[in-house]
């Protein structure tokens, strides 16, 4: 039996009929075509499927789609402003934080979530916040540098707006 659920994904209202055992990651990837969300393990261990659900980062492979009913979701596709990159994406590109790129969408969304809560995180805060996102390529150093760089860009930008 399918259930009709309503979601707001990247600002767009969606109405989808889903099986009760459908995972959010599969809903996003298979039904909505949002394949930027990656599936690395399917059991909540690698963090590649991280999305922002109601303001919090979640492993979308551990969330049943029906549980996201009425929720608001941000995926990697929704982060990019038109005609450019989000400052976090920009920092990841410029600092060499991306190698194979399979962890990048999840890593970037975890970073986004961190910077929402803590605009000037220390290196330790950053490592703590990203510890649920595995990366086998980079040794994490350039990722941490990118997040620090993005934090600097975002805070200087917001200071600028206030003035």
């Amino acid at each position: 039996m399918k259930t009709l659920i309503h979601l707001k994904v990247n600002g767009t209202e969606q109405e989808v009929a889903v099986e009760p055992n459908r995972l959010l990651v599969d809903l996003l990837r298979d039904e909505l075509g949002l394949t930027g969300t990656k599936k690395g393990c399917g059991t909540g261990e690698c963090g590649a499927c991280t999305v922002i659900l109601n303001g919090k980062p979640v492993n979308s492979c551990l969330v049943l789609a029906v549980r996201a009913n009425g929720g608001e979701i941000l995926t990697i596709e929704g982060l990019k402003p038109p005609g450019g990159l989000h400052p976090i994406q920009k920092a990841f590109v410029e600092k060499g934080a991306i190698q194979c790129g399979f962890c990048s969408p999840g890593m970037i969304l975890s970073s986004y979530s961190l910077l929402q809560k803590n605009p000037r995180p220390s290196e330790e805060d950053t490592r703590e916040a990203l510890s649920g996102n595995l990366c086998r390529c980079t040794g994490y150093q350039k990722i941490i540098e990118a997040v620090q760089d993005a934090a600097a860009r975002l805070t200087s930008k917001s200071t600028g707006t206030r003035r």
């Binding site: 990697i76 990019k80 190698q99 399979f102 969408p105 510890s131 390529c137 350039k142």
Partner: protein, 798 residues
């Protein structure tokens, strides 16, 4: 130092924006209309005879389109090295490990495919399984393959110089045994593929591979289709590190099912299947005997190695050679004996992983060298420097170091880490250690014996002259080869990186042996450079003719034609170009310099499509002994590392506090990418040193086939690395470049081991250094110390 416009910079990777936005397509992101989903039936037993396979129930299930076994697919043997083809697509008469492939199905959706698997009835007769090297080598042990007597699938016996005579002259001889554990690749993207077969029998396989070329050959050979009818395409790949460097049963099954059903077939490994099909690092047990003179000169090394290979040979014949040959350097060593044995067991097959075959040999030896330095009363760095090879040296097993910045690397980490202030001066529980290593920049020979080119490349000039398109079958798997190769093309032609487009990873684009043995930058880089020079020559010939100028009198730089003298009149070229682009914006005007674009357009008008061709294969390398090919390379990268650790003396928990790494990559095409390879290598080495181990139960089943129980480093485990690039300008590398992707892992494990010894006074001879292992050793040492104190009443150092 030459002035470069594109290379040696920190250019952002060309694939990074798409990857950052979720626009980069990996295999599981691709869907083809009407595609079926395939799944593999794995053996539940480690060793058993297959008595009967009944697929009738599965075939009757609604939605199932094909069920195939060895009866359908045949029993053509394949593997990695033709010297040890010992696999068939599906098991015919027996299974050899838990996970061995017995059948495959294709169905309308994954759920139906999995249900169909459960309906296949297989009757087995269990056979005794051998699950460790000890069991496998025991008298009368059950044989994994009848043709491998004593379960030894491959053995190597080499001697260079005269080891016994050299040992007789040594003042100090030391023997140690060192044991590692099976490692998993731990890449984030599970393997997947999509196979399609058109009505004329042309097969297209999209797959997450490091080696489109070898997959193409294997599919062609096993399924009996001409190579020209098999196209292998690699989408973006989420890491490989070795385990994706050979054709898998999944890839061949998908092709077979696509041929059988006439429909596209998609298959994916679950994370558990990734572990089952690991083909990653073997377990190694090395017994090393090293002899030195009192002054620290290393005279001889005896190396005996057993490696546990699992049920099939895969890369193993190369692995068993590498475990010997890669100790030929980076120290001057006149006498070396190696006896290597690859042992079959009823466990998943092992293959290649970053630092193929050499990582544990290196760990064992670099730790032993530290012990020897201590016994000689020498600083470990001084001891190494005393024996270090230099550019121009040839190892006793015929590895030629045309460039080698080993000494520079050691000096860089000594200074960069503050070694002098720290070594021997850290408090109990804190330690510092160092080690060195080197690795090939591309295997000197293909995996199959052949005179093939290792890389062929074409570069097409856009007809409007705006830019070029590089076509290569090389494999971007995350290491950054697309960007590196595009940078080489841009630099060679004198145009900006933005004017270069690259399409890679497709067997229709040429021959390229792929991403393994750290070969893309050097080998494909050469072919790209040659193709770019060809394009350049074709453009310049036309231009020289048009302008009546000698080709030597101008150059192209930053997209502009630069003349060695003034007064060259190119107005007729500009006029012609402008005439062809009426209504266009941003056109060159007036007296501004002649652009590459104008010159290239003129060349196209004169000659038609301009295509540059490049190719590369190394000159013959190595000695004449059996197996001399393994370890040869046109160039060798090398590195030195210093690691600082804290060991919790109560719990045994090790924290790696700081790492300093210097790597000689010859010449950094992209400095950011070189650092990224170094840092990533160290992270993988740290994981193997501290926690990674694939564990099995008594029935040969993997106990930890997931990232919860098989731990790879997180960002809390991995410290920042002082990353130092050393450039020795390799004469046989494009622009002087050589490897970085694997050599950088070599010193990591022994540097950690040596630091842990410095912190605890304990030498560990078995990996990984889990808190439990360290705690037990600390406790034992404590008991021993108490005992000695009470017996001798003397203070023990440590």
């Amino acid at each position: 130092m030459k002035d470069y416009s594109v290379i040696n910079s920190r250019a952002a990777r060309i694939d990074a924006p798409d990857k950052a936005c979720g626009n980069a397509n990996y295999i599981d992101d691709i869907r083809v209309p009407g595609m079926l989903f395939g799944a593999l039936l794995h053996s539940p037993l480690a060793h058993a005879k297959i008595l009967r396979i009944d697929t009738s129930k599965a075939e009757k299930l609604a939605g199932v389109k094909a069920v195939v076994t060895a009866r359908d697919a045949g029993t053509a043997k394949y593997g990695v090295s033709p010297a040890r083809y010992d696999e068939t697509l599906f098991c015919l008469d027996k299974v050899r490990y838990v996970g061995d492939e017995v059948a495959a199905v294709a169905a309308v959706d994954p759920e139906t495919a999995f249900e169909a698997l459960s309906l296949i009835q297989v009757d087995y007769e269990a056979l005794p399984a051998v699950l460790s090297m000890e069991e496998a080598m025991a008298e009368g042990a059950s044989l994994v393959h009848d043709e491998y007597a004593g379960n030894i699938a491959a053995e190597v016996h080499h001697e260079f110089g005269d080891v016994e005579a050299a040992l007789a002259q040594c003042d100090l001889i030391r023997t140690d045994t060192f044991k590692s554990k099976r490692q998993d690749g731990g890449f984030l993207e599970p393997q997947g593929c999509i196979a399609e077969c058109d009505s004329r029998g042309y097969l297209t396989l999209r797959t997450s591979t490091q080696v489109p070329h070898y997959v193409q050959r294997t599919v062609s050979m096993v399924l009996g289709i001409p190579i020209g009818k098999v196209r292998v395409m690699k989408p973006y790949v989420g890491g490989g590190f070795g385990p994706k460097a050979s054709a898998s049963a999944m890839e061949i099954s998908a092709c077979f099912l696509a041929m059988k059903t006439g429909k596209p077939v998609k298959m994916n490994f679950t994370r558990e299947e990734v572990f089952l099909h690991c083909r990653a690092r073997h377990q190694f047990v090395h017994t090393l005997t090293t002899g030195v003179k009192k002054d620290g000169t290393i005279l001889a090394l005896k190396n005996e190695c057993h490696l546990e290979g699992g049920a099939y040979s895969s890369f193993g014949i190369a692995t068993v050679y590498y475990a010997g040959s890669l100790l030929g350097g980076p120290y001057r060593l006149g006498n070396m004996k190696y006896d290597g044995y690859r042992v079959c067991t009823n466990k998943p097959a092992c293959g290649a992983q970053r630092g193929h075959g050499g990582v544990i040999a290196r760990a064992a030896w670099e730790q032993q060298l530290d012990c020897i330095a201590e016994e000689l009363g020498m600083d470990p760095i001084d001891f190494r420097l005393k024996n270090i090879m230099e550019a121009g040296n040839v190892s006793c097993n015929d590895l030629r170091m045309n460039s080698l910045g080993m000494k520079e690397c050691i000096e860089a980490v000594r200074e960069g880490s503050g070694w002098g202030q720290k070594k021997g001066r850290l408090p109990r529980g804190k330690g510092i250690g160092m080690a060195c290593g080197f690795f090939v920049s591309g295997a000197g020979y293909p995996i199959y014996r052949s005179d093939t080119y290792h890389a062929t490349v074409t570069i097409h000039l856009a007809e409007d002259g705006e830019g070029i398109h590089v076509y290569t079958a090389s494999a971007e798997i995350g290491q950054g080869s697309d960007t590196t190769l595009a940078m080489i093309a841009a630099e060679t032609l004198g145009i900006p990186l933005d004017s270069v487009r690259i399409s890679s990873g497709d067997t229709d684009f040429g021959v390229d042996l792929g991403a393994y043995s750290s070969r893309q930058t050097l080998m494909t880089g050469h072919a790209v450079k040659e193709a770019a020079l060809d394009v350049r020559r074709q453009i310049i010939d036309v231009l020289a003719n048009e302008l009546r100028v000698d080709p030597a009198e101008f150059d192209v730089k930053d997209g502009v034609v630069v003349f060695t003298h003034e007064g060259v009149d190119f107005t007729h070229i500009r006029k012609r170009y402008l005439n062809e682009h009426r209504g266009w914006r941003g056109l060159p005007e007036g007296n501004e310099s002649l652009t590459f674009q104008e010159a290239a357009r003129i060349a196209y008008l004169a000659k038609g499509s301009i295509i540059g061709k490049g190719r590369y294969k190394p000159l013959p390398l190595g000695g004449t002994h059996k197996g001399a090919a393994v370890g040869t390379s046109p160039a060798y990268g090398c590195s030195a590392q210093v690691v600082e650790v804290t060991v919790d003396m109560e719990t045994g928990r090790i924290t790696v506090e700081k790492m300093t790494d210097a790597h000689d990559c010859g010449f950094a095409i992209n400095r950011t990418s070189v650092e990224g390879q170094m840092q990533g290598s160290l992270s993988m080495g740290l994981g193997e040193a501290l926690f990674e181990e694939v564990k099995f139960d008594a029935k040969g089943r993997i106990l930890n086939p997931d990232f919860a129980e098989y731990k790879i480093p997180t960002c809390l485990d991995m410290p920042n690395v002082g990353t130092i690039i050393v450039e020795s300008h390799e004469p046989y590398g494009p622009f002087g470049a050589k490897e970085v992707g694997e050599g950088a892992i070599m010193p990591t494990i022994p540097a950690i081991l040596n630091a842990v010894y410095d912190a605890t006074g304990i030498r560990f001879h078995e990996l990984p250094l889990t808190p439990e292992r360290v705690f037990m050793a600390l406790r034992e040492k404590h008991i021993e110390k108490d005992h000695k104190t009470s017996v001798e009443g003397s203070k023990i150092h440590g």
